[in-house]
């Protein structure tokens, strides 16, 4: 294994002044949107995609990746200080983190969240370096049938690990796939579902869809809630946790990292689910369960490590198989496509500096984030005092400029408005938009591989079960579906997701 020489090459590529700068910007923007409730990484990456036109591929991906894991750090700050999750992945942190802050221990809570995240990020980065090449080697053997089954597994996983009704999640997947077929047919070039509108003859731009469904709909929902933010008054003193705190947390950080790393690789949103799993586990293992919810430091350390580990390892399926496991990674597919890179196992062999440079940058970015988040926490607290009435027009403006600049098309901006209303409707009827976006990105790939596989097999659908890898993937998918439909597990799953609300 020459993991270390590869990593050295990666660090060489990431350590240029430009790439370090981009990594810093990504981490900074990530923290910013993480701290601000109501602006998530999906919308932010969508807004910033046009800017990446002007960067080289490595720089662009370094910056966008930084936004994603940076948001995991920033989200905890708001959770601890305001008792409101800055990101969906930091919902659990509010439980004990805010209690700690009320007891005057905001400093240690913030510190342990950042340090736990850093530890988790480091471990997860090494996991990518170790397992990435193995998975990529396996993926080299994949034909159309395997790819089809793999994507099917990914989509099934996204429904199982989504919150809320499974049937509704599946219907969102199907709707996403259907939307993905809009545009010209890949073989015959015939227009499909374009309603004669020339602007969507080449398909719906997925940035448009993402900005509408996530950016605009989110604003509409936030305006409705109109909650008051009360930042805890007074200075945060004594950042450093005591030796006792560290001893108490370390096992929680380790377990959180493990849970997060595994859930991140799986399809579905690992960074959102992992903190719940970690919190539940810590509560089960604790000697005195009554401490939880009253400022137990393990209740901050475990989940915060888990969400960051999950955010990092979700890059593994993207970089090695070319399959995005969640909606944020689907955005990364878009970023890579813009740069002319086809995500998949060939990235590592044909573009090793890109692959290893990105991994190295993740570790650098995590180190930067500790500094951005701890000594500078005062700045972020002040930022939280910016009222939403000023924030959302700014977000809207950036959304519109971002979308317009992709194709200089006014119609794309109109589509953002339409998808914004669609997203609002979905929210009002408890349909989740994340599986839709994922399916939208996977749709064309799924169709292409299905058609190819059927052509190779001369129309015999048994190809999907006679090829061993494909069969295994399908069995796992079927198992997942069966599992979620079992009454006992269904009940348990509802309980888990119920706690989050």
């Amino acid at each position: 294994m020459d993991v270390f020489s590869n990593l050295a090459m990666g660090f060489g590529a990431a350590f240029t002044p430009l790439n370090l700068g981009l990594c810093f910007i990504g981490a900074l923007v990530g923290t910013l949107i993480g701290v601000l409730p109501g602006l998530g990484p999906i919308a932010t990456i969508a807004i910033l995609l046009p800017i990446t036109f002007y960067l080289d591929p490595l720089g662009a991906l370094i910056m966008l990746a930084g936004i994603y894991y940076g948001a995991q750090y920033g989200g905890s700050t708001t959770a601890i200080l305001v008792n409101m999750p800055g990101e969906t992945s930091s919902v659990v942190t509010t439980l004990d983190g805010h209690q700690m802050a009320k007891q005057g221990r905001a400093g240690p809570a913030l510190a342990i969240a950042a340090l736990g995240s850093f530890f988790a990020g480091t471990v997860a980065t090494f996991m990518i370096a170790l397992f990435g090449p193995l998975l990529a080697a396996l993926a080299q053997k994949f034909g159309p049938a395997e790819y089809f089954s793999l994507m099917l597994l990914g989509l099934v996983g996204a429904t199982v690990l989504a919150s809320g009704s499974v049937v509704k999640a599946v219907s969102m997947i199907l709707l996403g796939l259907l939307l993905g077929t809009v545009g010209s047919d890949l073989e015959s070039g015939e227009p499909r579902l374009t309603f004669g509108i020339p602007q969507i003859a080449e398909g719906i731009n997925f940035t448009t869809l993402a900005v509408g469904l996530f950016g605009v709909a989110e604003i509409l929902r936030n305006l409705e809630k109109h909650e008051e933010r009360t930042v805890l008054p007074g200075h945060i003193h004594g950042l450093m946790p005591t030796w006792h705190d560290i001893k108490q947390c370390f096992p929680a950080v380790l377990r959180g990292t493990g849970i997060g790393s595994i859930l991140g690789i799986l399809p579905g949103n690992g960074a959102v689910l992992a903190p719940y799993a970690s919190y539940t586990l810590e509560k089960k293992l604790a000697k005195d369960r009554s401490r939880f919810g009253k400022g137990a430091i393990e209740g901050v350390a475990g989940p915060e490590s888990a969400n960051n580990a999950g955010a990092q390892t979700s890059f593994i399926p993207l970089l090695t198989l070319g399959i995005p496991p969640n909606a944020v990674m689907a955005m990364m597919v878009g970023a890579m496509t813009i740069q002319g890179i086809v995500p998949g196992p060939t990235v590592m062999t044909e573009n090793p500096t890109l692959f290893w440079g990105m991994i190295a940058s993740m570790w650098i970015g995590n180190a930067m984030l500790v500094i951005i988040n701890l000594p500078l926490v005062g700045i972020w607290v002040r930022l939280l005092k910016v009222p939403y009435r000023l924030l959302y027009p700014a977000i809207l403006l950036f959304c519109c400029i971002g979308v317009y600049s992709i194709n200089s098309s006014y119609f794309d901006v109109v589509l953002v408005a339409i998808f914004g209303v669609v997203g609002y409707f979905l929210m009002k009827h408890h349909f989740e938009p994340a599986p839709l976006l994922l399916a939208f990105v996977l749709g064309p790939l799924l169709e292409e591989n299905l058609r190819r596989a059927m052509l190779i097999a001369r129309g015999d659908p048994t190809i999907f079960v006679t090829r061993p890898i494909s069969l295994v993937l399908l069995l796992v998918a079927a198992g997942l579906l069966a599992l979620v439909l079992l009454p006992s597990i269904r009940k348990r799953r509802e309980e888990v997701f119920h706690e989050e609300e």
Partner: protein, 151 residues
């Protein structure tokens, strides 16, 4: 036992919306060739999907008739109209009017949705914001926008 009352209006409406989308999609696919399982035509995949979307919509709506669920939520038109209006305004204004005017327009129109609006603050902040976007997108990134109206 099913009662005549709709038990989960949220699901019934949501499911029916899916059925409508599926029907519209399906009606647009008429001209496309289905092909065979071996050599699938352009119509194959979308047709299957539109049927599936419709079936799931029916199932969700049907389940909403039988099982209890939440009532319909009110729509916050007071927020929707300014926000969506601002986006549409921007879409049609950016080419003829340029970044400064359409940017200011989107901030001002969207601000009507704020429940706690303060005009003075919004105007000052909006001005600074538009200046920032011009500097970022035009000066720093050199995107091909017009900054001022074209005559």
């Amino acid at each position: 036992m099913a009662s005549p009352r709709i038990r989960s209006p949220q699901d019934v409406v949501g499911g029916l919306a899916l059925v409508v989308v599926a029907a519209v999609a399906w009606s647009q696919l008429g001209e496309l060739k289905m092909g065979t399982a071996m050599r699938m035509g352009p119509g194959y995949f979308p047709t299957v999907l539109s049927w599936l979307v419709g079936l799931f919509g029916l199932f969700i709506a049907g389940r909403g008739l039988v099982h209890d669920g939440p009532p319909l939520d009110r729509w916050g038109w007071r927020h929707i109209i300014p926000v969506i209006g601002a986006i549409v305004l921007f879409a049609f204004a950016i080419r003829p009017l340029g970044l400064v005017l359409s940017g200011a327009g989107i901030v001002l129109v969207a601000s009507f949705a704020a429940p706690d609006l303060r005009w003075r603050e919004t105007i000052i902040f909006g001005g600074a914001l538009v200046l920032f976007t011009v500097l970022l997108f035009k000066v720093a990134l050199g995107l091909p926008f017009a900054v001022w109206p074209r005559f």
